[in-house]
């Protein structure tokens, strides 16, 4: 029982890790994933050497354990910038 939006793709509602160009790592809840790219809600961004000086591995370890802070209410990552998409729960 709950609300479902099955027309929005199989990743809808799933918290994903998007490895993007320029060393960006986005973590957020996927809303839609289509030809326009992937739309993330309540997302966070990690850049190597960025805030807190955490490495990518340290950042992902923390994210996998507890999730991420919703610093970006929504972000659309265009397909040409996406290198990989994986569920955060798989880390």
């Amino acid at each position: 029982m709950g609300t479902f939006h099955q027309d929005r793709g199989e990743l809808h509602g799933v918290t994903v890790v998007v490895e993007a160009a320029d060393g960006e790592l986005w973590v957020g809840r996927c809303d839609t994933c289509d030809g326009r790219g992937i739309l993330l809600l309540d997302a966070d961004l990690h850049k190597e050497g960025g805030e807190g000086g955490r490495s990518r591995e340290e950042y992902l370890e923390r994210a996998a354990a507890f999730g991420v802070w919703p610093r970006h209410p929504q972000v659309l990552i265009p397909p040409q910038r996406i290198l990989s998409v994986r569920p955060l729960g798989s880390f």
């Binding site: 609300t3 479902f4 509602g13 799933v14 507890f66 991420v68 569920p87």
Partner: protein, 143 residues
């Protein structure tokens, strides 16, 4: 914008019908958290079918075992906004997500399941994880 209370009611009742105390105000949350002794399970409930649709049946299944927390309560994210914010303040270092599940032992957070650990998993898998946590942290209270 919150969903209609009528639509949400069955989702609340999935937990209240199995003994969860519903915390709808900050005062409710404060009173519940003030009881420090023993083990206590707090569920941040949600309308989201992607995750809560597995969380609630999984919780129900886990609580059907011999070892279970002494007390269970729930707040409803997106509905009881102030109560949810107060509950989340009890684990302020952890990013907010819903549904999510927090287990306390003698007032300390000892186990936490964020939303992304529920997504894509079956109720049975959620229950298995919770039973493991209950065995680890609630077993003494069950003897």
């Amino acid at each position: 914008m919150p969903y209609s209370p009528l639509m949400v009611r069955p989702m609340r009742e999935e937990l209240t019908s199995i003994g969860f105390q519903e915390l709808q105000t900050p005062a409710d949350v404060d009173a519940w958290l003030a009881q420090k002794s023993g083990s206590a399970l707090l569920v941040i409930n949600s309308v989201c079918g992607c995750a809560a649709g597995s969380a609630r049946p999984g919780i129900r299944e886990a609580l059907g075992g011999e070892v279970r927390p002494d007390r269970c309560a729930t707040v409803f994210a997106g509905q009881d906004l102030e109560a949810t914010a107060r509950a989340r303040a009890a684990f302020a270092d952890i990013p907010p997500s819903s549904p999510s599940i927090a287990l306390f032992k003698d007032g300390e957070l000892v186990y936490f399941v964020p939303r992304h650990r529920i997504e894509g998993r079956s109720p049975e898998q959620v229950a298995e994880d919770l039973r493991g946590a209950f065995e680890r942290f609630c077993a003494v209270a069950a003897r």
